[in-house]
Point group: C2
Chain length 104, copies 2
DNA sequence: CCTTAATTGTAAATAATTTACAATCGTAAA
DNA sequence: TTTACGATTGTAAATTATTTACAATTAAGG
């Protein structure tokens, strides 16, 4: 059915979606201040090319933040959480790029 | 596998995602000016509660804009496109809410 | 207590958005 | 051709949101 095609696996959307820091805070529950701090520590990176401009995050960025947040809640240190998430992200990226190819 | 669980049907994300007007413009290719115009004409509605605050859109809003854009390109008038999309959105919403229930 | 990791607070500057009023553009009818 | 209308676009002034930088605070371990 048509509807199903529109919604199941909406990777077009996941691929294209871009979100500002305020909305990421709203989506994830992570305060903007904390997001910027993680970025200072180079645990996450925003998509912004020029400095001074507003930060932009994509799906993978947001996913990563949520994973880090979970691990922090479990008692990990920030660095340990970052390390662990880094590995999980590789898997996630692999799946995403595989799905991209399928749709070409 | 864990990765699959993280990515396939990420409805948690689709449900929670919220995007500003500038990013919607970037994602959809629809200029901010046009998005505001459609809102003036009550063809779409933003999530903003208080006026004067910045507009926020969710997944369904963005989906709707993309559908309208497609129909406009096909030659529909704005009102005709809005009418047709309204019906399609009902189907999409039905599918989404059904999937929500499944995950409770 | 002391140290370090992690987070939070805030002011001033800048970026981005809002609203409102107006202009433009294309098409179809008169 | 002119008129009317739908659709879009332009823009200035006010406002909201974000950025950067410097500093303070909090919590846990040694």
């Amino acid at each position: 059915m048509a509807q199903n095609k529109d919604l199941s696996f909406d990777y077009d959307f996941l691929e294209k979606v871009i979100v500002g820091i305020g909305e990421v805070a709203q989506i994830t529950g992570i305060p903007t201040r904390q997001i910027r701090y993680w970025e200072d520590k180079e645990i996450i990176t925003s998509l912004t090319e020029e400095e001074g401009k507003n930060r932009r995050y994509d799906y993978k960025n947001i996913k990563k933040m949520l994973l880090i947040k979970e691990l922090l809640d479990e008692g990990y240190t920030l660095d340990a959480a970052a390390e662990k998430v880094k590995k999980r992200m590789e898997g996630i990226e692999a799946v995403l790029s595989k799905l991209n190819k399928k749709r070409d």
